[in-house]
């Protein structure tokens, strides 16, 4: 008899969820909203600022070509290589800047931790898929572009359950 | 002609014919289902890719390993007792149906033998269940 009651209770529990809100993010139409503009780092205190670790953004005016990001990446993913840029900055004599291969990058953000000059941050952009491997290699010029993103859906919780937006 | 129809052979032939006519649609639907769905297999054979390059593809499923031993072997199934009971009591249940469908036309005293029959069957069934439960595997 207890088995019957158990089954009926289970049925009841299942049926109750017919009217509960769907907890599904309809991805291409909805995009999750993240904290801040992406992961940033304060070298003075040695502590990061919370944010999504997406694609990097490189500030050319701050980069000195010191290769610290590349050295940090060497034991992790070997995704960063220093390339020549056709720009002249006073503080970047060698005129080299990081170029990131997103086919290898693991988005750990330790390169951002390594940068002492506020030059390398991460952004909220995570849609990096491409048809070729070579398109995943981002040059310093591509890394300088601020991504345009619209992410506005959050988890909302009310009496009828949680839902996205 | 009439003489034939009312002769025992003729009556039998009528019965068989009626039965055949009432059961033949089943066979017809059976064939129709095959005829209607079979072409999808042919169509699939036509439009689907067929690559026979890799012989590994045609190995039976063995979770990614090369199969060891035969798929068709002598194999022990421990629930043999159910099969045995089925063989015995399936026949008995047919008698029950014959009795059950005509019980409204029978005299009341006809119930007694069937109760005896049921008693024997249930006793045997209980014994079989007891034996099946006694041994974990047969």
């Amino acid at each position: 008899m207890s088995n019957v009651i158990g089954i009926i209770r289970a049925l009841n529990s299942g049926v109750k969820h017919l009217a509960v809100k769907r907890f599904t993010l309809r991805y291409p139409e909805q995009k999750l909203k993240f904290v801040g503009d992406g992961f940033q780092f304060n070298p003075e205190t040695g502590v990061g600022i919370a944010g999504l670790r997406g694609r990097h953004i490189l500030f050319h005016e701050h980069c000195t070509g010191c290769q610290l990001c590349s050295v940090a990446c060497e034991g992790i993913a070997e995704a960063i290589s220093m390339v020549k840029v056709h720009e002249t900055w006073k503080h970047n004599k060698k005129a080299i800047m990081p170029q990131i291969d997103y086919g290898k990058c693991v988005f750990c953000g330790l390169c951002v931790d390594a940068c002492p000059f506020y030059a390398l941050y991460m952004t909220n952009d995570y849609e990096l898929s491409s048809f070729t491997k070579s398109a995943l290699i981002y040059t310093p010029a591509q890394l300088a572009i601020q991504p345009k993103i619209s992410q506005d859906v959050e988890i909302k919780i009310d009496d009828r359950g949680a839902s996205h937006g | 002609m009439h003489r034939f129809l009312y002769s025992p052979t003729g009556l039998l032939a009528t019965l068989v014919g009626e039965a055949a006519s009432s059961f033949s649609p089943i066979l017809l639907l059976f064939t129709f289902a095959i005829v209607a769905t079979g072409p999808t297999l042919i169509l699939s054979r036509m439009i689907a890719p067929r690559r026979t390059s890799n012989p590994v593809k045609f190995l039976p499923m063995e979770s990614g390993q090369v199969p060891q031993g035969e798929g068709r072997t002598h194999f022990m199934m421990q629930y043999y007792s159910f099969v045995l009971m089925f063989v015995v009591f399936d026949v008995a249940s047919i008698f029950l149906y014959a009795w059950g469908s005509s019980i409204l036309d029978l005299p009341k005293s006809a119930t007694l033998p069937i109760i005896g029959f049921l008693a024997i069957i249930f006793a045997a069934f209980a014994f079989a269940l007891y034996q099946a439960g006694r041994k974990n595997i047969w």
Binding site: R22 | S22, L29, L41, F82, V83, I94
Partner: protein
């Protein structure tokens, strides 16, 4: 250039088109035309406006609307229409499709998902069609040492037996394909066919998983056969007939379930086991024996088996209706239990598609 997707070549495309046309014509002339003639042989051609209907006159029904209705009417009373369309194959296939769709959708609702959504704009209504085409375009792989003729025959036999099952079911007064006087026994006979097919294909595939699955299917079906048969005995005693149509007629005023609740419950449980639904899914338990006796089926062969399976589900549902134990409340129970306990197969279905069948 990638080796996976070779470049498009117009000549090859046109060549394959001609190839396709050739095959279609060949199959039509070899298979289709004989079927047409067989059908014409069986159809009793009506007399319309004083003249016997011939196939050539029938071709003109579109041109002469006054001739249309009588032709359709007379056609509806032929056996071939019953076999093909209404209580027969087409109707069952449609019901099966509706069952699959409704089951998927409502299960998704219970599991806080949305289910099929994008295919066909309105709530994914064309999802099944897409699945069908997908299965059709998939490669059929037959294991190396399989018994090929039997292996090919397996799905066809399965669908055919499911079709034969359809023939026995009275859908509405007078609407039944085959009406033998011992219809209930015929139902048992057809049910007894399925384990044979399962074991046959399982043995033919020469794989361990199918072998275990087939044996399990056999044992399970056999084990639940006697309770199934005995659970229906009460109905036979009360209605005094083995004919399904007469059983239905005998309960115009009230349903036998009022007298036979235990039998009803036993029937419900055993029919679940016969259909290999969760929680009786031993033959297809996917976490132990990959997919049981279906392991080696691929592409459209698997699709046919699924079609047959869902057809049987629908039929069993209608049997529940025609031996009216399972009217609204029981159908509701089945649908509810479906949602809570899996899934893939369960007959959610039950209430949602054409409940009137159960209540006629």
């Amino acid at each position: 250039m990638s080796t996976i997707a070779p470049q498009f070549r117009l000549s090859r495309f046109i060549g394959s088109l001609f190839d396709l046309i050739f095959w279609v014509i060949l199959i039509f002339s070899l298979v289709g035309l004989p079927i047409v003639f067989i059908v014409l042989f069986y159809i009793k051609l009506p007399v319309i406006n004083g003249q016997l209907m011939t196939p050539y006159l029938a071709m003109t029904w579109m041109a002469d609307p006054s001739r249309t209705l009588p032709i359709v009417k007379s056609f509806m009373h032929t056996t071939i229409f019953r076999v093909m369309a209404f209580p027969g194959f087409g109707f069952a296939a449609l019901l099966a499709a509706a069952t699959i769709f409704v089951e998927r959708k409502f299960l998704a609702k219970m599991q806080l998902r949305v289910g099929p959504l994008y295919c066909g704009k309105i709530e994914g209504i064309l999802q099944l069609m897409g699945d069908g085409f997908k299965l059709m375009s998939k490669e059929i792989i037959i294991p190396a040492k399989a018994d090929k003729p039997i292996f090919w025959l397996g799905p066809l036999l399965f669908v055919g037996t499911a079709g034969a099952f359809v023939a026995l079911i009275p859908v509405a007064p007078g609407w039944v394909v085959a009406n033998p006087s011992v219809g209930l026994l015929a139902v048992f006979a057809v049910i007894g066919f399925f384990p044979i097919i399962a074991v046959l294909t399982a043995w033919a595939a020469n794989s361990k998983w199918t072998f275990i699955g087939g044996l399990r299917a056999l044992h399970q079906m056999v084990a639940f056969e006697i309770p199934l048969i005995l659970s229906l005995l009460g109905v036979v005693i009360l209605s005094g007939s083995l004919n399904l149509s007469q059983i239905v007629q005998s309960q115009e005023h009230f349903w036998w379930i009022a007298f036979l609740p235990i039998g009803a419950i036993v029937f419900f449980i055993t029919i679940l086991a016969e259909l290999e639904r969760i929680p009786f899914d031993l033959p297809e338990a996917e976490s132990e024996i990959v997919a049981g006796w279906l392991t080696e089926f691929s592409g459209m062969m698997y699709g046919l088996i699924q079609l047959g399976t869902y057809k049987i589900i629908c039929i069993c549902r209608i049997i529940r209706g025609s031996i009216p134990w399972w009217l609204e409340w029981s159908n509701g129970l089945a649908s509810v239990s479906a949602g809570y306990y899996h899934s893939r197969n369960y007959n959610w279905s039950c209430n949602c598609t054409l409940p009137w069948i159960a209540t006629f």
